[in-house]
Chain length 247, copies 2
Amino acid sequence: MNAALDNIRVVLVGTLYTGNVGSACRAMANMGIHHLRLAAPNLQNSWEEGERLAVHAIDILHAREEFASLEEAVADCVAVVGTTAREGLYRQHVKAPRDCAADILSLAETGPVALVFGREDKGLLNDEIAQCTHLIRIPVDEGYTSINLAQAVLITCYEFFAASGSYQPPREKAPPTPQAQKMQLMKNWAKMLVEIGFMKEEQTDHFMQGFHRVFSRGVFTKDDAALMLGVARQAVWAKQKAAAASV
Amino acid sequence: MNAALDNIRVVLVGTLYTGNVGSACRAMANMGIHHLRLAAPNLQNSWEEGERLAVHAIDILHAREEFASLEEAVADCVAVVGTTAREGLYRQHVKAPRDCAADILSLAETGPVALVFGREDKGLLNDEIAQCTHLIRIPVDEGYTSINLAQAVLITCYEFFAASGSYQPPREKAPPTPQAQKMQLMKNWAKMLVEIGFMKEEQTDHFMQGFHRVFSRGVFTKDDAALMLGVARQAVWAKQKAAAASV
């Protein structure tokens, strides 16, 4: 559990559809963020859809806190981060989430930080924007700027998760092959390719440049090298065995 | 229209629910990606939900191409990028989308590139993974690693959109205030604060360090400086006018 992420409060203002709340819960859980607040919810359908879409993040949905207004929902927060898709006088200092998540997360180490998302149809109103200490706008294609509420929650939480250092790029389990093993591989392949008649000995330099190119794309692991060494060994063995049999 | 993004094909394999297809269409449109392919779709409900959730990305849904298998769906592609949440022998060389999107997008400048997403319940099968030239895994919290199909499409497309350079961080419209204006602001405030009796002249250095701290948080624009200069001017004027009236 990352302490700063645990201080994040996702605050949905005036939300209309329970499905978006449920999908937001799942997105939050995927990104290690667990505290949901609803401010002045205006739900138009039953919780059935919301509970279905929350799937295994149902505990976040059930533990939600509800408030009569945004003001009450963020009263204990040291930073209030509004999300907006629109332009306007009071929305000039917006940043992309990737460009400010790390700074805001530092604030979350000192106290609760609200990530605030507006209504599906109208977003955050000017008097709600005025309560925000930070504003973010998710970069989107100008051909379709209206992003679904739960999708906006996902990308925002994803950027905070990434900024928290919890973002662990997967690592190849096999170590990369050392240069000596690569050179051994090229040497054994050259021998094998001559032995099976793929190339003449004097063509070695020419053809091996081509194989070097193939074997040098991206990282070559010890497992990869062992596999290709096995091919060379077996081809030589098969050819020599066949030759011996035909004598 | 970014040419490389336009070469991206989102390929959904064996998808079960039209709602996920519709939500994926909207996520694609938000990120400037417009070509959808369904491989061996296994849809369990009507298109009504899918069309509702596609909203204004309905054109992507209607223009989708359908194929009997993944093999046919990616036959023309120069790179086949599989997404996987699972670990396993054939899934060791996965990368996070942020770490490989730029390289893969370079390939998309040369021809169609498939981003492949598996079934809601079982993901991509081993024989499908075997057809992929690249594998990516979205970093998620280990407490809840199962990510919704449309949410996975969104984050992947978001990373390719970001890598395309179409990601334009919003810029503050007012320029930052130049140092000379900042110094003028401090000078006028110091005068005003003595004039209204907030501090004595000899306390100026001490108090102005505090105000300097307040005015130095983040970027201070010309508009911000003009606003605060106005406060100083008005406070001095109001005090002098009241003093004159009381004589």
